[in-house]
């Protein structure tokens, strides 16, 4: 049943998303855009953590650099907008490569902690460099081309870019590279023994994750028109991690679901209470205790052969 329905579901969703701004008020369209780019961000993180098994604890820094890269290009250089939208993700990818090379020799937890520390270093620099990055004020009122400056325009731009990137990541995950990184995740010793340069593949995975994280950051610039240092603060990194966990780290669409839930909850909660951290923390605790595979992970198990009943 699932298999025949599967291609229809995303299609239906896409149609619904396309129609969205026509029926919903402006604020909701804005929220929907935020949901989309956060879903992209979470999926990019999952490339590193769910599929490659790397403890990517500092992912927010790529989001932030992608955003700042785009913002700074738009506000400070004379370059046209398309360039800005390339600069952001490429800067994030470059940073990911540099950080990856430094961190990759470390195992698991150390990798994660060093990544957070490097990320915090970047954050500290951005936070203090008032003259260039606007310091803790961030950058506001970023000029955008007319087509994408309006709420509807920014929404459609976000939708299209997100859809393309998610599709690209879907293909990556289903490719030989995708299988290899999963193999590395499950058994790096075995992977090396069959001739796979584990470090190189892990680095490639990190760069891809960083790149798509940077794209999400660029989209934020389009939707929000501003950037601020807290985008790359480590608490946000962990929040994105929670999204992946909530939705299911070992599924492709899990992070999308998790991101949607968390963003929508956050918006809803901020209207009614100032204790969002409490709510988030409680959700996370419940997920860890009761749903370690995440929401989707619980319901989607790998299809198995009929023969294994006897094995």
């Amino acid at each position: 049943m699932r298999r025949s329905a599967a291609p229809l579901l995303p299609l239906f969703l896409l149609v619904a998303l396309l129609a969205l701004p026509q029926v919903l008020p402006r604020f909701h369209t804005y929220i929907a855009a935020i949901v989309l780019l956060t879903a992209l961000l979470a999926t990019s993180l999952n490339l590193a953590i769910g599929y490659t098994g790397l403890y990517q604890f500092g992912h927010a820094v790529f989001y932030g650099i992608g955003a700042y890269g785009t913002a700074l290009t738009l506000t400070r250089s004379g370059m046209p907008a398309p360039v800005a939208f390339l600069v952001g993700p490429l800067a994030a990818a470059a940073l990911s490569l540099v950080m990856g090379v430094i961190c990759i020799r470390l195992s698991k937890l150390y990798f994660g902690m060093l990544q957070i520390s490097l990320g915090s270093l970047v954050w500290a620099v951005v936070y203090r460099w008032y003259s260039f990055t606007g310091g803790d004020d961030g950058i506001h009122g970023i000029p955008l081309p007319d087509a994408i400056a309006s709420p509807k325009g920014s929404y459609y731009f976000t939708l299209i870019v997100t859809a393309l990137c998610v599709f690209a990541m879907y293909r990556i995950v289903r490719s030989p590279f995708g299988k290899v990184i999963q193999g590395i995740r499950d058994n790096p010793v075995r992977a090396a023994a069959i001739g796979i340069d584990v470090r190189l593949h892990q680095l490639a995975s990190l760069v891809l994750a960083g790149f798509f994280g940077g794209v999400a950051g660029s989209l934020f610039v389009v939707v929000e028109n501003s950037v601020f240092p807290d985008m790359m603060f480590w608490t946000f990194s962990l929040e994105v991690l929670i999204m992946c966990l909530l939705g299911g780290m070992y599924t492709f669409f899990g992070p999308l679901v998790g991101a949607s839930v968390i963003v929508l909850l956050r918006v809803f909660a901020s209207v009614h209470t100032q204790y969002w951290s409490l709510i988030l923390g409680t959700i996370l605790t419940l997920v860890i205790i009761f749903l370690p595979d995440g929401v989707l992970g619980r319901f989607v198990r790998r299809p198995r052969s009929k023969e294994d009943a006897g094995a």
């Binding site: 470390l106 150390y110 994660g112 902690m113 520390s117 270093l121 500290a124 996370l284 605790t285």
Partner: protein, 298 residues
């Protein structure tokens, strides 16, 4: 930005001493985290929140007892005890059921507690800054190298080594400490010889929490007690523990020294980006010695 002049003035010495007193706090808190990490293998993201609770609790105690030296000293004892109690609840109530999970899950669980505790502090104490004044006994400064250094900082410089020695005694000379160290290396074996490993873990976590609370209480007179204290501290603590070697007490001391000093000197030399210096030091150490400077128990 006259680096050379800045670096070699007497201001430097004074900054170093300030850095060292900051090191004390970092050391106390980091040793707590190192303990927890070494024995329980949990990277405790909630450690910063425990520290913050220590500071707020100290404020409450001092308010309650009306200020003065006695109130201050009482706070230094009661606040950490309160935090230790919180730690006990966390450990017995939650962590003890989840030890066999992967580290990633445990880390995220501690993060969830950091979130929850952070907001609980907001609920109990509100969002405003609090401050605690240094009791009259410690007010004023002494003259060190011709420059004034607050008595309170000297007090911290004194307390630091005391705590270090106390911890060393507990870990190496008491039976409990020895068992905890054994449990860090091989929990199963310790359980197999009939010792209740669960209580060892509880003890360790409680002690670690106590230390976090003590750090918070001690720093209370020196800073604005505010929400967000937890976030800035936890990162520093993690890094110190990593560069020092996971689970290693002397490593926590070494890491704290490096961190505290690079930060003070960094700000002296380059005020705008001085806070980045400790992070650079961390990166440098980890590139050269990925497992930390001293041996880790992992």
């Amino acid at each position: 930005m006259d680096f050379a002049a800045n670096l070699f003035s007497t201001g430097t010495l004074s900054q170093i001493l300030v850095g060292l007193s900051r090191t004390t706090i970092l050391f106390i808190v980091s040793s707590g985290m190192s303990l927890i990490l070494g024995v329980l293998r949990i990277p405790n993201v909630a450690h910063g929140s425990l520290y913050m609770i220590g500071a707020f609790a100290a404020w409450t105690v001092i308010q309650f007892l009306g200020g003065g030296l006695f109130a201050f000293l009482a706070a230094m004892i009661v606040a950490p005890l309160i935090v230790a109690a919180v730690g006990f609840v966390l450990e017995r109530g939650f962590f003890s059921y989840l030890y066999e999970r992967e580290h990633l899950m445990l880390l995220l669980l501690t993060f969830s507690f950091a979130l929850i505790l952070g907001d609980l502090v907001k609920i109990v104490w509100g969002s405003e800054y609090r401050s605690v004044t240094v009791p009259p006994f410690f007010q004023g400064s002494a003259e060190i190298f011709g420059l004034p250094l607050p008595w309170y900082n000297l007090f911290l410089l004194f307390i630091g080594p005391c705590i270090a020695i106390f911890l060393w005694l507990v870990i190496n000379k008491t039976t409990l400490g020895k068992i905890a160290r054994a449990a860090a290396v091989d929990g199963e074996m310790v359980g197999a010889v009939g010792i209740n490993v669960g209580w060892i873990f509880a003890f360790t976590f409680v002690l670690g929490s106590f230390l976090a609370g003590l750090g918070g209480a001690l720093i209370a007179p020196m800073v604005n007690i505010s929400l967000g204290m937890d976030h800035s501290l936890i990162m520093e603590t993690f890094l110190i523990v990593i560069i020092g070697g996971l689970g290693n007490m002397w490593g926590a001391l070494l890491g704290s020294l490096i961190f505290g000093l690079t930060q003070s000197l960094g700000i002296l030399v380059w005020p705008q980006f001085g806070i980045a210096f400790p992070y650079l030091a961390v990166v440098a150490v980890l590139v050269v010695r990925p497992r930390g400077l001293l041996s880790s128990t992992w």
